[in-house]
């Protein structure tokens, strides 16, 4: 009986025209009868295959250096960590400002198991995951008593506590000198390790997807909306909140272990508060509750350093201008593109003007004077530290202009790939709020 009811709900019921009109803001109902033609399916398959080639095969062809392999592996690890934070902020609606503790605990656990207990790499990851779950569940117990802003404060303080106290315990973490965490694929051999990280990322994505398709995921979303209402519907608020934390801890533990072995060693200075903020940045900019968006956002932040270091010196003419200026211009362009600013005409015009100016500078016979930006009393500006400015600007632009982040930008593409008509207006702001009433 229940089954027929759900079937009935899913069957194409024609909505009365007035109903459609009465909900402005939501995209028009897709025609459920719509099926892409075989050419359409081919195009969709082609796009997916292109992405797969980009991720799996393009590396060996274009990016051969170990530096690039390292950065790619880091992107996969960051994506796992971003998905972990997404479980907390996106699904359970509790913000964590101390996620460096989650990740760091996994990193130290795996490093300890592999170097001190001399176990294989996979055992290290497993132990890291279990310890990650345990510590996250303990913190989750606290989240049952203290909620909202005050809990954010607790996580912040917890992160600092982990950084100073937990990671300073000599016998486990090696104190100030840190601990070795050998790369399982041999020293500096990052290429196979990238595929190991990708495999773990695929596993995490699968768990996340299954979680949100089942009762547990729906319970988490209900609790995020309103814990009291959820409990009147028979949802065990305590159990599911702790479950949410457990899943976040699992992902973060795995991510931490992979990060430790990627870096080759772990020490406590690595897991500072600023790292936690980078994690929050990439998750929010990626777009909460949108797995693809978060993977893209996290990869962007992981590759940002590489991008900024590789781009200066595009052209000998440009070197004459201080490298800071092209980097700043390029990054501003990236920010505008990522946050969807391209939809505004005046921003497009501004970019056009900047590009034209740059082109004139490049082809004109006039000698470009050396410009070294500097503020009196301070050293000259260098592009290396500019990465620190990019993230926050992206975050603020995301929050203020496009609360759905990258996830909102790519919604139409996802929608199309799933077999619908291309509709550029899919992905309203209603389903991308950062968090709701729990504060």
């Amino acid at each position: 009986m229940a089954r027929t009811l759900t079937r009935l709900k899913k069957s194409p019921v024609k909505a009365a025209p007035s109903e459609v009109v009465s909900t402005p803001g939501t995209p028009k109902l897709d025609n459920p009868e719509f099926r892409p033609s075989s050419g359409g399916w081919l195009a969709r398959g082609g796009v997916l295959a292109f992405v797969a080639v980009l991720v799996l095969w393009l590396g060996p062809v274009v990016l051969l250096g170990s530096e690039e392999w390292f950065a790619l592996s880091l992107a996969a690890v960051y994506a796992i960590i971003g998905l972990s934070l997404n479980v907390l902020i996106g699904y359970t609606g509790t913000i964590s400002l101390g996620h460096q503790a989650f990740v760091g605990i996994g990193a130290f656990a795996s490093a300890y198991v592999v170097t001190e207990l001399e176990q294989p790499f996979l055992i290290g990851v497993l132990v890291a995951a279990l310890i990650g779950v345990a510590q996250a569940m303990l913190l989750g117990g606290l989240a049952l008593r203290v909620t909202g802003l005050y809990f954010a404060l607790i996580t912040l303080s917890y992160g600092l506590f982990a950084q100073d106290t937990l990671f300073g315990i000599q016998s486990i973490t090696g104190g100030g000198s840190g601990r070795e965490a050998p790369l399982p694929t041999g020293p500096d051999n990052f290429a196979p390790y990238y595929f190991i990280c990708l495999a773990f990322l695929a596993g995490v994505l699968f768990i996340d997807w299954r979680l949100m398709q089942t009762k547990g995921g729906r319970a988490l979303l209900a609790i995020r909306e309103n814990p009291r209402v959820a409990s009147t519907f028979g949802i065990n608020v305590r159990a599911y909140t702790v479950l949410g934390f457990g899943v976040a801890g699992l992902f973060a533990g795995v991510g931490g272990a992979l990060l430790a072995h990627l870096n080759g060693f772990v020490d406590s200075t690595e897991f500072s508060f600023s790292l936690a903020l980078v994690f929050v940045l990439m998750t929010v900019v990626g777009g909460l509750r949108n797995r693809t968006g978060i993977v893209i956002g996290s990869a962007f932040f992981a590759l940002l350093d590489l991008l900024i270091r590789k781009i200066p010196g595009l052209d000998s003419r440009l070197e004459n201008l201080d490298t800071t200026i092209p980097v700043v211009l390029l990054v501003v362009g990236l920010i505008v593109a990522v946050t969807g600013g391209l939809k505004k005409a005046w921003i497009r015009a501004g970019i056009g003007a900047a590009v034209a100016l740059l082109a004139i500078l490049l082809i004109s016979p006039v000698e470009v004077p050396l410009i070294e930006p500097q503020i009196a009393g301070f050293p000259p500006l260098v592009p290396e530290t500019f990465a620190l400015v990019v993230g926050p600007v992206l975050l603020l632009a995301t929050l203020v202009l496009y609360p759905g982040g990258i996830g909102q930008q790519i919604r139409p593409i996802q929608h199309w790939l799933a077999g619908n008509r291309l509709d550029l207006h899919v992905g309203g702001e209603a389903d991308v709020q950062i968090t709701d009433v729990r504060a």
Binding site: Y150, S157, A376, L381
Partner: protein, 326 residues
Amino acid sequence: MAFKGLLDPVKRRLGDRYGMTLGVLCGAVLTLVLFAIGQKEALVLGIIAGASYGLLGLGLVLVYKSSGVFNFAQGEFGTVAVFALYLATTNGVPYVFSVIIALIVAGLLGLLTERAVIRPLAGAPRVTLLVATAGVSLLCIGLEFWIAQPEPRQVAAALTRNDRVSIFGIFISDQRLLIFVAIAVIAAALAYFFSRTNLGLAVLAASQEPTATNLVGISVSRISTLVWVLAAVLGGVAGVLTAPLFGFTPAFLTSTALVPAFTAAVIGGFTSLPGAFLGGVIVGVVQAVASSLNLFDSVPGPQTASLFALLVLILLVRPQGLLGRS
């Protein structure tokens, strides 16, 4: 719980002063214990450090009281002011004018934050606003690192004499005393502002019933601007007064004092201005004792550990803080 109702008659008798009494009692017991175990120096050091936390905490309380936001940018308002002070003094501007310039810069930063970030997010969930203020803070930190590099710098103090006052053999510099004076003056002025002036009452009204406040002819958005500028100037005062003590680096207030200041505000009850000072002193003393006692010898980072324990304890036992109202 057999003891659950034990204190009820006392609570009823004391009413609003219950929290205050509790705080004073705890303080007295703590002081006695510290004297008994020979840690009176820690008491003095803690109170000194706590004053800086309290000063930063005042700005946090001001923003929370009037807009319900945890302002993670408060530390950066101070640090940016210190950078402005440093730039002005190294370029030959007299000290007094440099301080004024620094406070104006802080105020402008507050104005900018309100216009560019807080106002577009009006009506957004409070956690979103929290992330947004953290974003402002990060942006300031990024710019500071980009412009100034992470090396430590020194900035001149308003008062330079160091040996005027000493308690238990610990000299307290005049700059430290100035912090106490500033905190007393600011707390008194803000308390007067919120309880006795029309504008202060309007600020409270705007935080509690924004729509109704607009309806009676008070501009809520102007009040929001006022509050953020005021908070930023307070942050600037905190930065300018504390930077000369240890020198400064980019993000020095955020990394050293923001979490203690938040804890101080939580202990004080987050709506109480004297509470921020009281909380600051408690945090300072607990940290000083934790780092001077041998009890924590086996545990690294006693200051952050004690801070975390204190925060969790307060939020579990008395979430409304000592001087706050539930």
